[in-house]
Amino acid sequence: MNSRLVVRPNLCIGCRTCELACSFTHSADGKPGRSRIFMLDGGHEKLWVTVTCLQCDDPACVKSCLVGALRRNEQTGAIELNQETCVKCMACVAACPFGCAILDHTHDRVVKCDLCGGDPACARFCPTKALDYRPIAQAAKKAG
């Protein structure tokens, strides 16, 4: 795990390009999937916050999964959901304290951010770099 997805709400212009990028990256059967990233109201004027999975160190979703469908990918640091193992019991959807495991109604499956396997499309398409995927040392320095 070398990189981290950094969210900077002050740079966000609320264009929802990240949601589109996510939907189309995770499309299946010719239909776009439900976006795993959400552009939400930050509660102040001209303030938008993109919310997506925080890839917690002690993840409630992984603890809640009784069939072991959720595992951390040690290379990317992302917690990935194995669709072949998932039994759609909704435990992770209910357990995540940030609401970032969700039900994709179109494809009838539970989905969550997997950092696109190490190259998140949302960050690639973000026009203002409000979303940025960069090495951890750099991410910590800039944030501090």
Partner: protein
């Protein structure tokens, strides 16, 4: 784990020693029919449809037919997945399945793929959609509830809760209904409630918006068994996200004001 090489339909394929043959074949994108296989549970060998032909050089032409879901891979294995005999075996199995479940779309479709459009046996007049794959009971066991089980033997075998009463150990997670390949297991949902196996459940409703999430029994069970704070379950996913956006918004606004100063 050691990597071994086996031969599948004349092609060399790498696999981990000891992993089940079906997993290897599926990874190689070979279409093997199976109705009782799911990654959430251990292989069971109920449907027998994943049967393949195996042999080895030292067997001098002798062959064996095994369910690939239960056969551990070892070096030197020679596999044929669609030999004439294998196809005939699968066709017979599907013919029998179609006799017992003549109106089940999954069975009709799988049988049609193997050229069985109508069963050659007598159709069961009361054929239901339960193909006895036991995925429901196995997933219930795997999740640690053990609320349902197969009961009876032979013709009378079926899936049921203990004594056909509402199962005390069921938490209403619906995993059995979701995993059922034929949709035989049904449930009802009404407002903030749910009913499955004759047992009624109250849902946890979001304290912010009132949306139902999972059953109270399931939330209590997860909180106790997996050490997840119970209050995580009190808010729905959408309200959790809004809450996180609000928190991050407050920090961002504070940053803005600091920068302006």
């Amino acid at each position: 784990m050691a990597t071994v090489t086996i031969q599948v339909n004349g092609r060399a394929v790498r696999a981990e020693k000891g992993e089940m043959l079906l997993a290897v074949l599926r990874r190689e994108k070979i279409d093997i029919p199976a109705t009782c296989n799911h990654e959430a549970v251990e292989a069971f060998g109920a449907c027998r449809l994943c049967t393949v032909e195996i042999t080895r050089d030292e067997w001098k032409g002798w062959k064996n037919y095994v369910t690939s879901c239960l056969y551990p891979v070892e070096a030197g294995l020679i596999v044929r997945t669609h030999s004439d005999t294998v196809i005939e075996l699968r066709r017979t199995l599907l013919d029998l399945q179609l006799a017992r479940h003549p109106r089940t779309p999954l069975i009709q479709q799988m049988a049609a793929e193997y050229g069985v459009l109508k069963t050659s046996y007598e159709e069961a007049p009361d054929g239901d959609d339960c193909i006895l794959c036991a995925l429901c009971t196995r997933v219930c066991d795997a999740m640690g509830f053990r609320a349902i089980s197969t009961v009876g033997r032979g013709h009378g075998k079926r899936v049921a809760p203990p004594l056909d009463q509402p199962p005390p150990d069921c938490v209403g997670c619906l995993a059995c209904a979701q995993i059922c390949p034929t949709g035989f297991i049904t449930y009802k949902e009404f407002g903030a409630g749910r009913e499955i196996w004759g047992k009624q459940f109250q849902m946890v409703t979001c304290t912010r918006c009132g949306a139902p999430t999972i059953t109270r029994e399931f939330a209590d069970n997860l909180a106790a068994r997996r050490e997840i704070p119970r209050e995580y379950f009190d808010v729905c996913d959408a309200c959790h996200r809004a809450e996180l956006a609000g928190t991050m918004g407050r920090i961002a606004q504070w940053n803005r004001e600091e920068a302006a100063r």
